[in-house]
Amino acid sequence: MSSSKQALAHPASSADAAPGDKPGAAGRANGRGTPPPGSSSWRSRLYRWDMKASPYAFISPFFIVFGAFSLIPLLYTAWYSLHNVQLANLDGQTWAGLDNYENLLSSDFFWNALWNTFTIGVISTVPQLLMAIGLAHLLNYKLRGSTVWRVVMLTPYATSVAAATLVFVLLYSWDGGMINWLLDFVGIDPVNWRESDWGSQFAVSSIVIWRWTGYNALIYLAAMQAIPVDLYESAAIDGANRWQQFIHVTIPQLRPTILFTVVVSTIGATQLFGEPLLFGGVSGSKGGSEHQYQTLGLYMYDQGWIIGNLGKASAIAWSMFLILLIVAVIQLLISRRLRKSQ
């Protein structure tokens, strides 16, 4: 209080006041002379504090929400996975150590689900991305009404999983479904799409492909439009045709984008849940009578919410998390290699 009073009383001298002359932050701040003298010493402190703290305050909502809805559940799930917890008796949990994980590793259902997640992931991601690149390449030509085509490409993505899957269920219905009807038309025996091993996986993948191809195509298209035109011009001068331009100019330029879409699709494929669940209809969490399309997500849901074994379900959730971490590390290594090679 007294220091600010004195500062007010001697406005002229305050500018050249020596540090030792008036101890305290106010004196020093005045010594630098930047903010106006007097009450500004408190203000400047507030100002600096504001400069430092307010960015944190601005970003805090995200982190608070992240903590409440992601981090704490994640850690809590880890804690649960080390216990024997039943859905009907949440408070009666008992310590189980790594039992749940050991149980998983020795369970055929788990390995089956892991394998299904992998195969469905491959047969949905690979054709999807290839088709997306092709479509993006076509859209990259000068087209009449190109905006219309782009919007149309994005519509499947905007459709809800539930609505899309229910329509596909009807299409794939083994008795009277449109796809079997078409097959019959060309003389192929009807396929029991839900119960056959590869048929069901193909059917589930087709829903994923249908929903995501357009989305990926638009990402590729954006990347393609960023490729400088002179690259194509010089390639054309060198005598490269359209196909050669695509292979030798477009694809190499798209490499980072391709990597990005592969990673995003891999994560999506690992978490695949809604499509197979709804495709299975009643008791869809089993993924078919032989679990032929039960993914890890479905297995977790079945264990946790249908059977009520939350401890084991938590262990599955953490296994999925670890698998995704491994995928992320592989992606990191590949992208580093790519950057070096460029």
């Binding site: 504001d50 703290a53 307010s54 859905l87 009907a88 269920v169 219905s173 479904g177 029991n192």
Partner: protein, 441 residues
């Protein structure tokens, strides 16, 4: 001046951010405090109490106009129904809310497949309704299912699922079979095996594109519904692999699955609904609640073609209870509403509208299905058929994991035989593995 406005603007932003975050947190707190029990102001706004009732599927209370009627009788009460379509979503959600002691509705419905789990694990979360009602209103076995060992009644019986067989008279005629309901019932009386034998006759001259029955699983459920011993013995031990009832029902289902008489549909699936609409199967095991379903899915085209005959054995399939969680903020009002909704007169009203069969026998003499329903099923005396079944259903021992064990047998074991051409032994082994997983063995 310029710096100061900028500063104050920054401060304002800071304050706004702070307000936003505290607002968010406060929002959370408010939510968990309040639950959903007194939306619309609780006792505040105009003195009205809002009671919520959590149900799954179609309960028929709203359809029969019961809520409106009750609100007219009690002007201070407002009723809101929260429906979850799928039982397998409804029950886990309800379990977690019961244990959290928050977020439950004032009245919660309990399906018969979950009632033992509720009785054995959640009894302290429900109000004891035994002292509130005259228990003799309900069928004894219905009360027994919702009663704990020390005599606490956690739920009041709503409908039950006495069994009959619904069949397509027109298809039976084309296949050269008997079409009269009493003579048919006589032909398969006492044994589901005789019903399957009739199916074999049907298949010899079946109208093209039709099968005798919708699925082997439905025959399994119907046959099991008449057995005293299912998956658990009376002491609560799991005995599904030794149970005589399961063995009997399984054998009948295997006979269906391996003799090409099933349309191989999965119940409550979209293609099953289509099967009704297209008339691809001639019979279906028909608990009372199926009557409303058939009318809806088979539509105008099926009118007058369907008929109902007594099932081979008296059996029960499905049915529900409603209980009042102790977490309810309006327990007294909720108990009153639950009592009223399950009283014999109200059950009779639901039957008239939805054909969900009452669990209160005193209403049976006054039961009248809607005229349209009667006409739809060729004027079959459905009231008498279902009452006769309901009065002779045995008391069954249910267990905590009845539902998942049943699903494992029907949707894994039977389905593998029916749709994938596996042998009955392979199907049984697959079901065994699945059930071991369910029971954590």
């Amino acid at each position: 001046m310029r710096t100061s406005t900028r500063r104050s603007r920054r401060l304002m932003a800071l304050a706004a951010a702070a307000a936003l975050t505290t607002g968010l947190l406060a929002g959370c707190a408010e939510d968990s405090d309040d639950g959903s029990s007194n939306e619309g102001g609780g006792n505040g706004g105009g003195g009205k109490t809002t009671l919520t009732i959590g149900t799954f599927g179609v309960f028929g209370y709203k359809q029969a106009g019961l809520y409106d009627e009750y609100m007219k009788l009690h002007p201070d009460i407002n009723i809101k129904e929260n429906v979850t379509t799928r039982t397998d979503v409804y029950w886990p959600k309800t379990l977690t809310r019961l244990q959290a002691g928050a977020g439950t509705d004032d009245i919660q419905a309990i399906e018969v497949g979950n009632v033992t789990e509720a009785v054995q694990t959640q009894a302290d979360k429900f109000v004891d309704l035994g002292k509130e009602v005259d228990k003799s209103q309900w069928l004894d076995w219905k009360n027994a299912q919702a009663t704990t060992k020390d005599g606490k009644l956690i739920g009041l019986g709503t409908d039950i699922g006495p069994m009959a067989i619904c069949y397509r008279k027109d298809l039976f005629e084309k296949a050269g079979l008997e079409t009269d309901r009493t003579k048919l019932a006589e032909q398969w009386k006492g044994d589901w095996g005789k019903y399957v034998d009739l199916g074999k006759d049907y298949m010899k001259k079946a109208p093209s594109g039709t099968k005798f029955v919708d699925s082997a699983s439905s025959v399994y459920n119907a046959a099991l519904g008449g057995e005293v011993e299912r998956y658990y013995d009376k002491d609560g031990n799991v005995v599904w692999d030794k149970s005589a009832g399961v063995k009997k029902a399984w054998d009948v289902a295997m006979d269906v699955a391996t003799s090409n008489m099933s349309a191989k549909l999965k119940q409550f699936d979209k293609p099953w609904d289509q099967g009704y609409a297209n008339g691809t199967f001639a019979t279906v095991a028909c608990p009372a609640w199926m009557i409303g379903y058939i009318q809806e899915k088979s539509g105008e085209a099926g009118k007058g073609k369907w008929d109902v005959a007594a099932a081979p054995t008296a059996a029960n399939w499905g049915g529900s209870f409603i209980g009042v969680p102790t977490a309810s903020k309006h327990q007294k009002e909720a108990v009153e509403l639950a009592k009223w909704l399950t009283a014999p007169e109200q059950q009779a009203k639901v039957f008239a509208k939805q054909a969900s069969f009452p669990s209160a026998p005193s209403s049976y003499s006054s039961l009248k299905p809607a005229a349209a329903t009667q006409a739809y099923f060729s004027d079959a005396p459905i009231t008498e058929i279902f009452s006769a079944s309901a009065n002779t259903i045995p008391t069954q021992y249910l267990g905590t994991k009845d539902q998942p064990i049943g699903t494992a047998i029907t949707d894994i074991g039977i389905l593998q035989v029916e749709q994938k051409g596996k042998s009955p032994e392979q199907g049984w082994d697959a079901a065994t593995n699945e059930i071991k997983d369910v029971l954590g063995q």
